[in-house]
Symmetry: C2
Subunit: 274 residues, 2 copies
DNA sequence: CGAGCGTTTGACAGACCTCAATATTGGTGG
DNA sequence: CCACCAATATTGAGGTCTGTCAAACGCTCG
């Protein structure tokens, strides 16, 4: 079904984790939230839950690590957990019967995965570690229970899902109405923005743990055409992309090409619910 | 920017509201939920909130009606309310600078609109009544406040947003990887399923208040090509679509064409949170 | 009956895909 | 350090799906 995913992350080299590591500098978040390790961290849950913590999380909050390339769950198979990314990148995608895959989302620290299932029917997509990742893992029933007895948790949950919906709508717009260059511009602007928000940029370049095949599968193009498109964009001095490194040379014009509406703020930082 | 929307609903005739009216037969829902008027109805809010209702909703819950074709809010402009559809169909779409529009979602009774803004920045899309509609209207700050002090409300909210995200992901998959016929099959299967869930079907035919232009703008195709595609699908005896009426002649083969995964349940009925 | 809109059809063009070959990169082992 | 391999990136030629443009048709409504 997919030799596609084999060795997805073997190309970019070991340095690529620097960007998604929390160690560099914790960006200023508001309230008790670390923008990187985010709203679901153990300490935060303790703070929200107070003396109820042990009741709400009888087993505490478990952390897991997964190696790059490992699937977290599979499309069509049941999965009874909610995962929150603490560090690293996760890829979610749908695989179709003709073998094509559509990348739905590049998930970064703070994003939720698997919140939409019901423990018995199959998941709608596959999730896969794009780099080495650290995850918070909750039994979905536990997670829902906690949210049901803690409005702050519930609203944090709702805010996280809202961000997913907003991102998906933008994705729909790009796929439905834009040319190859517009789709690529949309994707790379989005990834750039989120990557910088995670750990800041140490110069004009940002490291992304992806290759042209990822761009192709996310934009609905072929990798051949992505290659041509990137070449064209480099010729026009819009951006440079190679070896897992992205440089935006002309963000304004890229935003025009992506047809971003200046009135609309696309990036939703994690919400702090009063 | 768009003469597009002018007269969007003038083609299908007055009968088209029959389907989306609640009057025919309230389908059996579980718990206190009417599947049609749904989880946010005044009576339900009273039930959930109990004696707190007056504190939570100091102005009660207002209902509004809007005529077909009227915009509920505009892309790029701030909007401070959350709308819940009680009856009728609502359309949400993004308009791009080249004048193209991408339909994001056909929203039916029970769906939320406008939950993702923050009262000051512009909305990411336009919402427009596709038929005459009845809406529950909440100030967003009030709505968030209510959810923050009522976990059931919050979880209902989260479940509604989750349905939106799931639908958007399917949309992304269809737009990214499927041919014209696959995209049309996906859209019409989804609309059929949801329309039937709303009011049941009185035969093999279902009324949808949309035309080929809507299908085109939702699938990222041109109306010309949608016309050809529908003609082809009719020739192959897959479905018939005309005058706002949809007949699925061969649902199994349509599901194959749409590349639906039999393991995955796409349709998420409104959640009843314990 | 005419106006306006949506649908249908045809001819043609273009963006993107497919297939195929080659170059480049990164990793591995001798 | 070099040879070798797998994976990725690049380039070219040609094909196809879908878009563009244009015209005609049908339906509904005033």
């Amino acid at each position: 079904m997919n030799g596609n995913s084999a060795g997805i992350s073997s190309g970019a080299g070991p340095v690529r984790h620097a960007m998604v590591s929390c160690s560099r500098r914790p960006p200023a978040g508001r309230g008790p939230y670390c923008r990187t390790c985010l709203a679901w961290d153990q300490s935060l849950c303790r703070q929200i839950a107070g003396s109820d913590f042990d009741r709400l999380f009888p087993n505490g909050i478990r952390y897991q690590t997964r190696e790059a390339g490992v699937a977290l769950f599979h499309q069509g198979q049941p999965f009874d957990q909610v995962l929150i990314i603490r560090s690293g990148w996760v890829l979610t995608y749908k695989v179709f019967q003709d073998g094509q895959r559509q990348i739905i989302r590049f998930a970064l620290p703070g994003d939720l995965i698997g919140f939409e299932g019901d423990d018995t029917s199959g998941m709608a997509y596959t999730a896969e570690a794009l780099s080495d990742v650290t995850l918070c893992s909750f039994k979905r029933s536990l997670f829902y229970g906690v949210c049901s007895s803690s409005p702050q948790m519930a609203m944090n949950f709702a805010a996280a899902v809202t961000r997913e919906a907003l991102a998906a709508w933008n994705h729909v717009g790009a796929l439905g109405q834009q040319s190859a260059m517009g789709r690529v511009a949309n994707l790379l602007l989005d990834l750039h923005r989120r990557a910088v928000a995670q750990c800041g940029a140490d110069g004009p370049a940002v490291r992304l743990p992806i290759n042209q095949i990822h761009i192709a599968d996310a934009t609905g193009l072929t990798s051949v055409h992505v290659c041509r498109t990137l070449k064209q964009m480099k010729l026009e001095r819009l951006l440079e992309f190679g070896k897992g490194q992205l440089v935006l040379l002309d963000p304004e014009r890229l935003a025009e090409i992506a047809q971003l509406d200046p009135e609309v703020e696309l990036y939703q930082p994690p919400l702090a619910v009063a």
